[in-house]
């Protein structure tokens, strides 16, 4: 039985193992960073939607020596504000937060066992705006203040803009890391291919004597690195997926409802799972053009 053997014994190259390790690490880092970028993207999207579709009304607590009276007055202001908001055509619904919800919000700062009734904590109303409605924020705030003097309107823009800028910065940093990983991996493939060409110079000379074009040699390298890119990429991905889940679990444990909004969609997962194909493509193109360029200079 005659099985065709490749003229260039690239399988036995010592640089193969180095390349495998390099590509595995590169794909691992790429996958984890990409997951980060995609999560930040989804988070930004969620935040933007929340800016567009929701408002928060804050009812400042009434100061009085009699705590119960103060609490009743504050709740009265809250009810007035809710009634006013529900009467507005652009508002879909206005839901005051219950004591348990408020306690949950202040728990990270004050700990468990806090009784909201004992504290001069503002009451909050979660307001949903009807889709497609343009709100005159200043006008609404003024009218709300007339209806309920203790109420103030917050459209989240101030603090969310800061968060968005911070998230954008993180995204840029992650994109730089992605670029760096691709550059380092391509560089490793470039130098490893050049070393291999030097090792197999004798065989390549014979192939040239037989009439082989540079593309013939380049195709053998491209084929080999495509295989290495795919298998090592798959190994890197196999390591990255549990790491992404672990990081995601850790993020979920952070309370406050900010980080937990960073989720990966099915589209994001498809993109991450296709990384071995991407690494194979980069490896193939880099090896092919490295061979072509080096042979032109070498021989």
């Amino acid at each position: 039985m005659i099985n065709r053997k490749q003229e260039l014994p690239l399988k036995d190259d010592s640089s193969s193992l180095f390349l495998q390790v390099m590509i595995t690490i590169a794909v691992f880092l790429f996958a984890v960073t990409l997951a980060g970028v995609l999560s930040i993207n989804s988070m930004l999207l969620n935040w933007n939607q929340s800016i567009l579709g929701s408002l928060t009304v804050q009812i400042m607590p009434v100061n009085s020596i009699d705590k119960d009276k103060a609490r009743e007055e504050t709740l009265e202001h809250q009810n007035k504000a809710v009634r006013f908001l529900e009467s507005r055509p652009e508002i879909e619904k206005a839901v005051p937060l219950k004591d348990e919800q408020l306690e949950k919000l202040i728990r990270p700062w004050l700990g468990d066992g806090t009784n909201i009734g004992d504290l001069p904590v503002p009451r909050l109303i979660d307001v949903k705006v009807k889709k497609g409605e343009n709100i005159n924020f200043a006008e609404l705030a003024e009218k709300l203040a007339n209806a309920s003097p203790q109420a103030s309107l917050d459209n989240h823009k101030l603090w969310l803009n800061k968060l968005i800028r911070f998230a954008d910065g993180l995204k840029m940093l992650a994109m730089s890391i992605l670029l760096l990983v691709v550059t380092i991996a391509s560089g490793a493939i470039f130098y490893s291919t050049q070393t291999s060409l030097g090792l197999h110079k004798y065989i390549i000379e014979i192939l040239h004597m037989m009439g082989a074009k540079d593309t013939y040699v380049a195709q053998q390298y491209a084929k080999r690195t495509a295989y290495l890119g795919l298998t090592s990429g798959a190994a890197g991905l196999a390591l990255a997926v549990p790491a992404i889940f672990a990081i995601s679990r850790l993020a979920e444990q952070i309370e406050g409802g900010i980080i937990s909004e960073a989720t990966l969609s099915w589209g994001s997962w498809v993109l991450i799972l296709s990384l071995p194909l991407f690494s194979s493509l980069i490896a193939t193109v880099t090896a092919y053009y490295t061979v072509k360029r080096t042979l032109e200079k070498m021989m």
Partner: protein, 272 residues
């Protein structure tokens, strides 16, 4: 007796089959005779060619040469006279430091890498040290020139098997060069050189590493190929070989090239 006759007939058939494949026989089985007149195109032409390595002196100077299609020449000269350099220029592994080299009518100085590769496919080379690929089988070594041309694998297998049978190495098809004798390696190298039906066959000391009884057999093979239309140049030190075959001799001496014809008794030779 009958068995011997059958073997002889089989060998005769194989030889004629390959001749037909190499397109030097017409359909009636008559050899197409080579035109010996001066209008035959030159396969290789050199004008005022010089070769030097780095900043060193020229090892070949003002070489003028015209090898006609279908010719047979020996290339001689002392060690270091530049035989290998001249051959390497012929098989396009080296460009001249000065002068013009035309191979198959193309000036190698102005031919791009891909076109040079296409020209090399018309040239078969037998190296002194064989230059077989040790990790490949005899089959894969012989198949090399066909595969680099992108020939269909079925056709490659058919041709290589036929040729390995012809050089009586079909039993060693799957053996690597390390397990073969010098003579067997030499035949593999020759099979590799001729598998692609070259128009030009260059051999550097092809009998240098083989036993005395194998050398004449290999020479007969080259003569047969020449009769089939291949232009042959053989670099050798062996005076016996040159005297046994009546072919012109290209002799390198004092950095120049002179030609000696078999009937030239003056010993001075002439310029080409």
């Amino acid at each position: 007796m009958h068995k011997k006759h059958l073997i002889k007939e089989k060998k005769y058939f194989i030889k004629y089959y390959i001749c037909y494949k190499l397109k030097v026989l017409n359909r009636k089985g008559v050899f197409i005779l080579l035109n010996k007149d001066s209008s035959i195109p030159a396969i290789i032409e050199m004008q005022n060619v010089g070769i030097r390595y780095g900043q060193g002196p020229e090892i070949l100077s003002d070489i003028k040469l015209s090898l006609k299609k279908g010719s047979f020449h020996f290339l001689t000269g002392k060690s270091g006279a530049g035989k290998t350099s001249l051959l390497s220029m012929m098989y396009l592994a080296q460009k001249p430091s000065r002068g013009i080299v035309n191979v198959f009518g193309k000036n190698v100085n102005f031919t791009n890498r891909d076109s040079l590769s296409l020209l090399r496919r018309k040239i078969g080379v037998v190296f002194q040290d064989f230059r077989l690929l040790d990790h490949l089988s005899a089959f894969d070594n012989v198949a090399l020139p066909l595969r680099v041309c992108g020939m269909d694998e079925r056709e490659v297998r058919k041709r290589v098997k036929e040729l390995l049978q012809w050089v009586e190495l079909d039993r060693h098809m799957l053996d690597t060069p390390a397990t073969l004798s010098g003579g067997e390696k030499q035949r593999i190298a020759i099979a590799r050189a001729v598998i692609n039906r070259p128009e030009l066959l260059l051999a550097d000391e092809p009998t240098g590493n083989v036993d005395n009884d194998i050398a004449p057999k290999l020479m007969k093979l080259f003569v047969e190929l020449n009769k089939l239309g291949t232009t042959v140049v053989i670099a050798t030190h062996s005076e016996k070989l040159i005297n046994d075959f009546n072919y012109p001799r290209l002799h390198l001496q004092n950095r120049g090239l002179r030609i000696f014809y078999p009937n030239d008794v003056s010993g001075l030779g002439g310029n080409i």
